[in-house]
Amino acid sequence: MATVSTGLPLGGVAVQKEESAADQVSQWTLMRWRFMQNRLSVGALVVLILMYLTAAVAPFLSPNDYNELDTDHAFAAPTRIKLVHGWPSVCPLTQTLDPDHFKWVYEADCERAVPIRLFVHGAKHRLLGLIPTDVHLFGVVDVPPPAEAAPSASKTAAKDSVASLLAGLGGQNVAGAASAQAETKAEKPPRLFFFGADQQGRDLFSRVLEGSRVSLTIGIVGVIFSLIIGSLLGAFSGYMGGVVDNAIQRTIEIIRAVPTLPLWAAFAAALPRTTTVTQRYLLITIVLSLVGWTGLARELRGKVLAYRALDYIAAARLAGSSHLRIVLSHMLPNAASHIIVIATLAVPYSILGETSLSFLGLGMLPPAVSWGVLLRDTQQIQSVLIHPWMLLPAVPVILAVACFFLLGDGLRDAIDPYS
């Protein structure tokens, strides 16, 4: 009976591990796959990319020049967009002083509503810092009001909207008082203030866009500075060991023994005040990095120490590799993913640091614009109570910081699925 075979054909087939696509790919590809599965982190990455793109073309996206003063619109509330003939439009405002509460009140005149147009001509700027142009993605251009656009129904609607607008301002019903003087300054061109205007009537939305250029980049530039110092010293410390390691580690501990913000503040206060915006920007990143490098250095040192003990490093030495080759072709590629994660998680602290310093008046200084500088206006609490939109620059701060944390978390899970 030939019922029992040698078992070889059977064994030969089934014994092999199932070949899957995962067997052929590198660690980087595996990480990308794992990262892509984390929808929250991918979402955060998309949001961040959009924010940086926005910052890159900020003037193009701004309807107004961020520095244009307009005392006629001091503390104007966020503009209400009305649909006129199915097209989003803006109503011109008239400014009056409310003598009882000693503040500006505005009334919208929606009979002369002006449509928001795409690709309008406005203030000159350089697209991406290169192409000079005066085209903006959207904005309002003052055009004479269409004569027929004044049915009574729309007028009542306008009244209502004015009332609620004013309710948003301070809760007082001043609509009646204001309407009496409605016609006094009718020639003013209407303005588009998505986020309202500040004390000098500058468009907060445009200022937030402009501020994102400083706030979003200062975080990254600061972390790059920290990374350069931190990775050099950290890797050096871990690889050399001994006295060098000891000295660097003690230095880090001492720097970390000083409370971060007061130290930043002290350094920032010691900076000269008569600098250009660019100089100030660089000095602030350096101040942030002076403290920031310690965390990076410490984590990197830990990684290097862990790698140094691994057998594949010993094997590389036995293969005849030089120290430089070991660092470049074994340690760095392995540490790279960790460095990326550590850096990603350090960026939000840098952003918060700049925002806090500027908020205190120690970071970026006007005329420079950053989210912190914009938020400095909220220090007068009474003003915030009346003009709550002054807090709006905080929204992008929170969004950016939260997205960086989410991104960092997702990256960490992707490189280290078991921890």
């Binding site: 003690r250 501990e253 001492i254 970390r256 023994a257 000083v258 409370p259 971060t260 913000l261 007061p262 130290l263 503040a265 002290a266 350094f267 920032a268 206060a269 010691a270 000269p272 939000p348 918060l352 925002t355 806090s356 908020f359 205190l360 008046g361 120690l362 938020l375 909220t378 220090q379 609490i381 915030v384 109570l385 709550p388 807090l391 905080a394 701060v397 929170i398 910081v401 939260a402 944390f405 989410l406």
Partner: protein
């Protein structure tokens, strides 16, 4: 244990010396000596000093001394509690800082206790109810808590407090208790005011600590000794609270090393926003006015506060984990 303490304390001393040198550099860093600043102010107000007076001041602050002598003069007085004169306020620094430091310590400690008391149960719940709705909610709140700048949270609560609770803000006491001696009503009044800064301070810390607690507890729950405890027949809640949480506390206490600096930083910034009578506002004013002797005294004291906090954390760690004790 004694050895351990001696080691930590001697590290503290070395750190303080290093920080004092750093601080001294900060005093010297701004262009122009403090006296010149003062003189300028006087001249702006129309006054002036005689050359004699100027020389006297220069003598006192050792303007023409070599730097190490200057440092030595300054530090030997600072050790005795004499941090020099505040030019801005024209008073000795030491008369200005102590009361404010006291409130800072009080606020920070309240916030620390508050955030620990909140983050441990939250972290435990989150870790033991993984992938449930409350766990996700807690995790989302963590992200928000970490992402909101503290000054902003202070502002928001301020708005909320004055709008919704109609509470006066920007102080730790009502008007009638401001300068009154301590009494029970004053204490109650204090507690009624102190909650805003404490909540603000605690939020960021709580978010971070909950994250750490959750991750560590998950780690510990995978350990063999947790299974050992279960295999003895220990009830699940005792397994978690007695056997697992106690071990998960170790990294939480270690995290104080990063929590405390954030706490003190936060305290400084929200005090500025809320205009509390703590170190923050005066420190900021001193920095903005280059009143460096005053500023540096604050910086030194805040650092000392942090170092003492870290020392206490180390002692706590040794108490919680016997392995550290015998190291």
């Amino acid at each position: 244990m004694l050895n351990f303490l001696i080691r930590r304390v001697s590290f503290m001393v070395i750190s303080m010396i290093a920080i004092s040198i750093l601080s001294f550099v900060l005093i010297e860093l701004p262009p122009g000596s403090a006296i010149e600043v003062k003189l300028q102010q006087l001249r702006q107000q129309g006054g002036d000093m005689t050359a004699e007076q100027v020389r006297g001041l220069e003598e006192r602050y050792g303007i023409h001394d070599p730097i190490q002598v200057k440092y030595w003069k300054w530090i030997s007085r600072a050790v005795k509690g004499d941090f020099g004169q505040s030019f801005q306020l024209d008073r000795p620094v030491k008369s200005l800082i102590w009361a404010r430091l006291g409130f800072s310590v009080l606020l920070s400690s309240f916030a620390l206790v508050f955030s620990w008391g909140l983050s441990i149960p939250l972290g435990v719940y989150s870790a033991t109810h993984r992938y449930t709705l409350p766990d996700y909610v807690i995790q989302v709140l963590q992200f928000v808590g970490v992402a909101i700048p503290q000054f902003l949270l202070a502002l928001l609560l301020l708005v909320l407090a004055s709008r919704a609770f109609n509470q006066e803000v920007g102080t730790l006491f009502s008007q009638q208790f401001k300068n009154a001696p301590w009494s029970l009503p004053r204490l109650l009044d204090f507690l009624r005011h102190v909650w805003i800064p404490v909540v603000v301070l605690a939020v960021g810390g709580t978010a971070g600590l909950t994250r750490i607690m959750r991750a560590n507890l998950l780690d510990v729950l995978g350990q063999q000794y947790v299974q050992t405890a279960r295999s003895k027949g220990v009830a699940e809640h005792i397994v978690i609270w007695k056997h697992a949480v106690r071990n998960a506390l170790h990294p939480l206490i270690m995290a104080l090393g990063t929590t405390l600096p954030l706490l003190i930083s936060g305290e400084v910034i929200i005090s500025i926003v809320l205009n509390l009578p703590t170190t923050g506002p005066m420190y900021l004013q001193a920095l903005l006015n280059k009143d460096m002797y005053l500023a540096v005294a604050f910086l030194l004291m805040l650092s000392l506060m942090l170092l003492i906090g870290n020392l206490l954390a180390d002692i706590l760690l040794a108490w919680v984990d016997p392995r550290v004790r015998l190291e």
